[in-house]
Symmetry: C2
Subunit: 241 residues, 2 copies
């Protein structure tokens, strides 16, 4: 039973992700205004782009379900994954600056997003101060997140990077009501490597090492974390590079 794209109206007021997303802390009448603002939902099939670098910027996207990566490309073909995004997170903020997107957003599984026209968002956030503030926090959080990733890329060694990655995934799955111990990775070793500034072989070796040392158990993309405190220690107690 295919659903025609664009016919569904979203309803932030009904969405179980509203505690993670832009509606956080809004009153009921304010939520109704938000419901009107959010245009349509859009379904994105696995391995297709939500947007591409260079596309004109029209709005931002709240992930309703699914899993995305964003990446940037250099002219010579090298690319870097800049983030993995899951339900409740916002995509497209990179486009505000120049009115064009500066990275690619690709679905790593069949996904669905809420389309939020940017002109409308700015308009409504002039009226609803809680929305204005939430949006500013979302952007700031992205900046803080990026700083953390710079720290990872600039100062950590391979195993620390992977430990940080696993703990971050674990924490985000938990925030969404899933197990923090056991989860399924949607991305390949190569994508993890690109995100962490490592080659896929190095990622694979680090996974094996963590398994041998009893921190995790790995079965392809299925991960079970056995020793969360142990992984945390790896982050701080390794010899500086």
């Amino acid at each position: 039973m295919p659903i025609t794209i664009g016919h569904l109206r979203t309803a932030c007021s009904q969405c179980n992700l509203r505690e993670l997303c832009l509606p956080y802390g809004l009153s009921n009448p304010e939520l109704e205004l938000l419901d009107e603002m959010v245009g349509t939902r859009r379904k994105i099939k696995r391995h297709t782009n939500l947007y591409r670098s260079g596309d004109p910027f029209e709005g931002i996207y709240a992930i309703r379900a699914g899993f995305f990566k964003t990446d940037v490309l250099l002219e010579d073909g090298r690319d870097q994954v800049t983030g993995f995004q899951m339900a409740g997170e916002i995509l497209g903020l990179d486009g505000i600056s120049t009115e064009h997107h500066s990275c690619n957003a690709v679905a790593l599984e069949d996904s669905e997003v809420c389309v939020i026209g940017f002109a409308k968002l700015e308009e409504l956030s002039r009226e609803v101060t809680a929305l204005q503030h939430n949006f500013h926090k979302v952007m700031s959080r992205e900046i803080v997140r990026d700083h953390g990733l710079m720290m990872l890329l600039g100062t950590m060694r391979a195993e620390e990077r992977l430990a940080a990655f696993l703990l971050n995934m674990s924490q985000r799955f938990m925030a969404r009501g899933y197990s923090q111990q056991e989860f399924h990775l949607r991305m390949t070793r190569e994508e993890i490597g690109s995100y962490l500034g490592l080659k896929l072989e190095t990622v694979s070796r680090a996974f094996s090492k963590f398994q041998d040392d009893g921190y995790i158990s790995v079965q392809q993309k299925h991960i079970r974390i056995i020793d969360i405190p142990g992984l945390r220690k790896l982050l701080n107690h390794q010899a500086p590079r």
Copy 2:
């Protein structure tokens, strides 16, 4: 003749940086509103902090004159410079997310900033749409910049990183009316290294190499770029790592 801090009122309408800063594109009456919003100027002496990680967030800062770095610290003492900021750029955006700053901002030379209370900024940007939009662009630009740095840290080799750094500095000095060929670096080799994810010795070696190859001439912190197109080529034509 010492000037008492806090007594001077700023005047965005008179500032020669307004084309780079938040006032960009505002009408005269709007500029006057902005003048009222901006609280005071604050002078920051070389090697002192504008704010520290953990400080409560109160507002953002527009650099009126001078040069800053921001850095983040890990518990084990490792740190990473996340950016160098110059006149016309905005500091403090990291604090919006949690109401506390998540990095340190340190002046690399005697500097002066305009203090912009955040509550006031949100209030005024509800009324002045051009200001609202500018502010969103400033935040988005920071996100895009961070993605570029991730790409640098994740995929480039040492000499590419330094070439990218020099070209970036050159471009930003030029945008401020200074020479794009010749400038004075305010930061140490160690700070450059931290920013680029390299050790200071590697930075030093790369500087020497560039000089030997005729791309630049280096005299301590004084840099003269001889071959800008040559440096650009280094960015794209080096063998992938």
